[in-house]
């Protein structure tokens, strides 16, 4: 087995400024009709293909990248992931920090007779996003200047470092047909009124998405004739199915990862797509029980991060020391505290808080429950009695929001995980003063932090950015409201003869898959 796990230092800040040295090419030899078939797994059913109305923060990029145009895709340069011009364009060039020039390929036709892909569609799609549910990705977007039928310029209203990577290359950078979208009233869900891409899809709810070659596609051919994406929500079932030979590629749980590292199934390979998740134990600094900084610091020292990584993640997750994920600028290598139950106990005694009763809220999935169980045991050692309260997604995601009832007042401690795009700017936006009661559930604020946040957005020098973001994480840590836990990697297992390509956000880039 070829172990392709390697720490990809995914992005350099310079990536933005550079022009693309290579562009995306689908690996297919033109129309070799030898029945090349791939079976992969989607871990959820899809809800919406409309980039304006993705639900729940988990875009169905896998399908969109097969059937819809976008200007850039994720790719690799010098072994590092970055954006690359997609097979839909002749070129994409960032002229300066606020202008991006692009030129579409000619003759790419929308399905259902909606004509050719044009600059107008690009302008329509991006402008539409500014009023959509995902407008936050487009705050820096100003307009698209149309040069001609195929070329144009994206204009930003301010320099915005992450725009290519977190917006255009992600699921929200998908381009729709103006005519087709308007023909169905301006939005759609699972049935795109027109597609344009190497594949067309057919979806059977709850079962699978079948991707087959688009007969109208005139661009590069992908390798596989057909791709069957089975919808399997349980990681364990998917792993079993992979072992039983029913899947060629699937994302796996950390427990399975540990097992496969130890004892890999025959003819298979593991690929880490990315580790852009950051998980921490949050504390409500305004809650009477946690108002005392000493109590929060005690908790920081009491939690045994190593046990959590071992116990709940089978040693496969990376230790976290802040909100910046591995491979990004500003990633810290250590925290300002360490696991020290003795000190934690004395802090608690100092604060006169022994016998404290706390409620730990967490999403109801197995790994989090295990992590919560370990935290529960850790805190018990220093005399804090913890009740674990598992919650389903709905109540979990609204418990700290002032607009969604009164739970935020009772909120004590919780395990939280956010995901980010491949730019360090992203995580910090949720912890600024304006976010208190929205996503800043820890409910603290700091003038220095606000200052640094603004500086970070405009700064393009990566060393400076690193300094800014490191300092910001220190500020967070000093509030005592954060116990850094893990960065969970998104790991896939696939047949070793398959060359698999993934977005750093953890989706399969199916048109780029091939068999060697």
């Amino acid at each position: 087995m070829t172990q392709t796990i390697s720490r990809r230092h995914f992005m350099q800040a310079a990536a933005f400024a550079g022009t693309a040295g290579l562009s995306g090419v689908f690996p297919g030899m033109s129309f070799a009709q030898d029945g090349r078939k791939l079976t992969v797994r989607f871990n959820r059913d899809f809800d919406s293909l409309d980039p304006g109305f993705y639900v729940g923060g988990h875009p169905n990029n896998d399908v969109n990248w097969c059937c819809m145009p976008s200007l850039v895709h994720y790719g690799f340069r010098d072994g590092q992931a970055t954006w690359i011009p997609s097979p839909f364009v002749e070129s994409v060039v960032a002229r300066d920090s606020t202008h991006i020039d692009f030129r579409l390929k000619q003759g790419l036709m929308w399905s259902n007779g909606f004509g050719e892909l044009t600059t107008d569609d690009v302008a329509f799609s991006y402008e539409r996003m500014t009023t959509s549910e995902w407008k936050s990705d487009y705050v820096a977007f100003d307009r698209v200047d149309i040069m001609d039928r195929y070329s144009g310029t994206i204009v930003l209203n301010q320099p915005f470092a992450p725009f290519m990577n977190t917006t255009l290359a992600s699921g929200t950078g998908i381009i729709l047909s103006r005519k087709a979208t308007e023909s169905v009233g301006g939005k759609f869900t699972t049935e795109a009124p027109a597609t344009c891409g190497p594949y067309v899809y057919a979806w059977t709810q709850g079962q699978h998405v079948k991707l087959t070659r688009n007969p109208e596609w005139t661009g590069d051919a992908p390798y596989f004739d057909s791709i069957d994406a089975l919808i399997v929500t349980e990681d364990d079932s998917a792993a079993l199915a992979f072992e039983a030979g029913e899947l060629d590629c699937t994302q796996i749980s950390s427990e399975a990862l540990a097992r496969y590292k130890e004892k890999p199934p025959a003819d298979s390979a593991l690929t880490v797509a990315g580790a852009l998740q950051y998980m921490w134990l949050g504390m409500n600094t305004e809650h009477p029980k946690l108002k005392d900084l000493r109590v929060r610091r005690a908790i920081q020292s009491a939690v045994d991060q190593a046990s959590i990584i071992q116990g709940a993640y089978a040693g496969t997750a990376e230790a976290s020391y802040g909100v910046v994920s591995p491979g990004l600028v500003g990633k810290r290598d250590s925290a300002g505290y360490s696991h020290d139950p003795g000190m934690a106990r004395s802090l608690i005694e100092e604060a006169g808080a022994s016998g404290l009763e706390l409620t730990l809220r967490t999403l109801n999935n197995q790994e989090r429950i295990l992590a919560a169980t370990i935290i529960q045991a850790n805190l018990a050692e220093i005399g804090i009695n913890v009740t674990v309260m598992p919650l389903d997604a709905g109540p979990f995601w609204e418990m700290g929001q002032e607009s969604k009832g009164d739970t935020w007042k009772d909120l004590e401690i919780w395990i939280m995980r956010f995901g980010s795009g491949p730019d360090p700017y992203e995580p910090f936006q949720w912890f600024i003063r304006d976010q208190v009661g929205i996503w800043n559930w820890e409910r603290w604020s700091s003038d220095e932090f606000e200052e640094l946040f603004k500086m970070g957005i405009e700064e393009v020098d990566s060393n400076e950015r690193a300094k800014i973001y490191t300092r910001m994480q220190e500020i967070m840590e000093e509030t005592g409201a954060y116990v850094w836990l893990t960065h969970e990697p998104e790991v896939f297992i696939h047949r070793s003869d398959i060359s698999a390509k993934f977005a750093p956000s953890g989706e399969m880039q199916l048109p780029y898959f091939s068999r060697t």
């Binding site: 729940g56 709850g206 029913e246 995601w397």
Partner: protein
């Protein structure tokens, strides 16, 4: 007979209506704002308001119920807030998988369990009876979700005979049948023993009845007595039981669908419960209730056809 059936159908409808009411009350007594529960955290206030108006959540509760009931009666189970699809359409797409799993499970359990029970009952305490007794008690004792887990381990991984996940290629009947093997094995296994014991006990009781003795006194053959007389009566409580037990079977399919990653109503409920997709949960629960009501109705009607005494009661 006709009156019986009409009355029985009326009862079934009434039960479904009551169940719908119960469900409605349950869903509306959740702590929290139904709109934000339904839409999740990232929805804007405008979208929430639009949703509330669309779902009539801004109207009084009773009005909401009437609208809801009216919709249900016209086959409109609401709209999935996430995909904007009709819930009824979504569920109808899933229903065949649940039904085929239930039917396959029950089918092989009946095909095996009833003969097993008959054979045991003809020679009680014989060696065959002892073996079937052991087998049936063994199958009863293992809960279906354990069977599912263990079956996956043994059959799919170690033996690698049967497919583990999904329902197979649509349209490819052989493939779909193959995908049914393990789940229906897991769901039906407990029923084999259950039915075998049930039929055995029932047969033994019937064999002690006076009319069996009179049949013997008239010199009828053992074959006739067992299969035409005793079984004919002993099967009646079994049919009723299958109807009543269908609820338990549906619970079993929920586990099987989750573990085997099969599409179906149970899986939908589980997934949607975790996503808090309430319109779908609500519709799916209603559909299982209706399914159950239809099955018990069918079993009662079958019994009434087979048993003239029942026809004239009620």
């Amino acid at each position: 007979m006709l009156i019986y059936i009409v009355k029985r159908i009326g009862l079934a409808v009434l039960i479904i209506l009551l169940a719908v009411l119960a469900l409605f009350v349950m869903l509306h007594s959740i702590p929290g704002d139904p709109v934000s529960i339904a839409l999740g955290p990232r929805a804007t206030p405008e979208i929430q308001a639009a949703y509330a108006a669309k779902m009539n959540l801004d109207k009084p509760l009773f009005t909401q119920f009437l609208i809801f009931l009216g919709n249900v009666l016209t086959g409109d189970l609401g709209t999935d807030v996430f995909s904007n699809r009709s819930v009824a359409k979504t569920l109808l797409g899933q229903l065949p998988y649940t039904i085929s799993l239930a039917v396959a499970s029950l089918g092989w359990a009946v095909a095996l369990g009833i003969p097993m029970g008959c054979i045991s009952a003809t020679k009680p305490n014989g060696w065959l009876d002892r073996i079937t007794g052991l087998v049936s008690i063994g199958t009863i004792a293992v809960p279906s979700f354990l069977v599912s887990i263990w079956a996956i381990l043994v059959f799919a991984i170690h033996l690698n005979i049967f497919p583990v996940i999904g329902a197979g290629d649509q349209g490819d009947l052989a493939d779909m049948a193959l995908h049914l093997v393990l789940p229906s094995f897991a769901v039906g296994l407990g029923w084999v023993g259950y039915l075998a014991r049930m039929v055995r006990a029932s047969m033994l009781e019937v064999m002690g009845e006076n009319y069996i003795r009179s049949a013997r006194a008239f010199g009828l053959t053992t074959q006739t007595i067992i299969y035409r007389y005793a079984l004919r009566v002993a099967i009646l409580p079994t049919i009723t039981l299958i109807g009543v037990g269908f609820g338990g079977l549906l619970s079993g399919t929920v586990f099987a669908e989750i573990i085997f990653a099969r599409p179906g109503i149970g899986k939908v409920i589980y997934d949607m419960v975790l996503n808090r997709n309430f319109p779908v949960v609500q519709g799916a629960v209603m559909m299982t209730v209706a399914l159950y009501a239809v099955v018990t109705l069918a079993s009662d009607i079958i019994v009434s056809i087979l048993d003239p005494r029942v026809r004239e009661s009620l």
